[in-house]
Amino acid sequence: MTWREVVGAVLATTGTALIAVAGLGLLRLPDTYNRINAVTKAATLGVVGVLLGVMIIKPSVTAVGLLTPAIILQLLTTPFGSYAVGRAAHRSSSPLAPITHHDELHRPVPAYRTAPSHDQHGPGASAASIR
């Protein structure tokens, strides 16, 4: 094996091991939010490691031209996807693990698309309603 194959094999094995650890976390962690945590690490570091390893093992114009945008897109889009999943999980009242101490988002977030509610209690009550 040349040094390029060795470096690529190490990168691809590391990325696959990270994905396997994420699968273990998906199986064992007690909570939706903890599982989101495990999956997000695999989706960034694991995929980038595997794609970099593949690109180093067999560098061609097609492979580099296709895998470099894939790496950039994966690094850019994974945080947004995980944030959206976590927000949807909390708003669809996915249960928290029993060992959770307190929930910072316990007060429900205002609804997504509702008409702006007008205060009907006069000018004095508006200051009290803003918390």
Partner: protein, 85 residues
């Protein structure tokens, strides 16, 4: 039996875990998380398969799955969020 086959078998085991969580997720959000990891496993397995089979054109599936995974995650979590409670 090269080292890539070992990694592909490992990814197959992860995909089995993903399918198990997809079937028996306690909440619907768990199924969305499992779908996200399913796309991750598919991307990694396709990239490794392009090396194993020595077919560079398979790499276009990696790029397509990257885009499709993001859009699927956003769309499904939006559906989950808009469900009436």
């Amino acid at each position: 039996m090269s080292w890539i086959d070992v990694l592909l078998v490992l990814l197959g085991a992860v995909m089995a875990v993903v399918v198990g969580r997809l079937v028996t997720g306690p909440a619907n959000a768990d199924r969305v998380v499992a779908l996200d990891l399913a796309f991750v496993v598919f991307i990694a397995a396709t990239a490794l398969l392009s090396v194993r089979l020595d077919v560079v054109a398979v790499d276009i599936l990696v790029l397509a799955a990257t885009l499709l995974g993001f859009l699927t995650t956003i769309a499904v979590s939006h559906l989950l969020e808009r469900r009436p409670r």
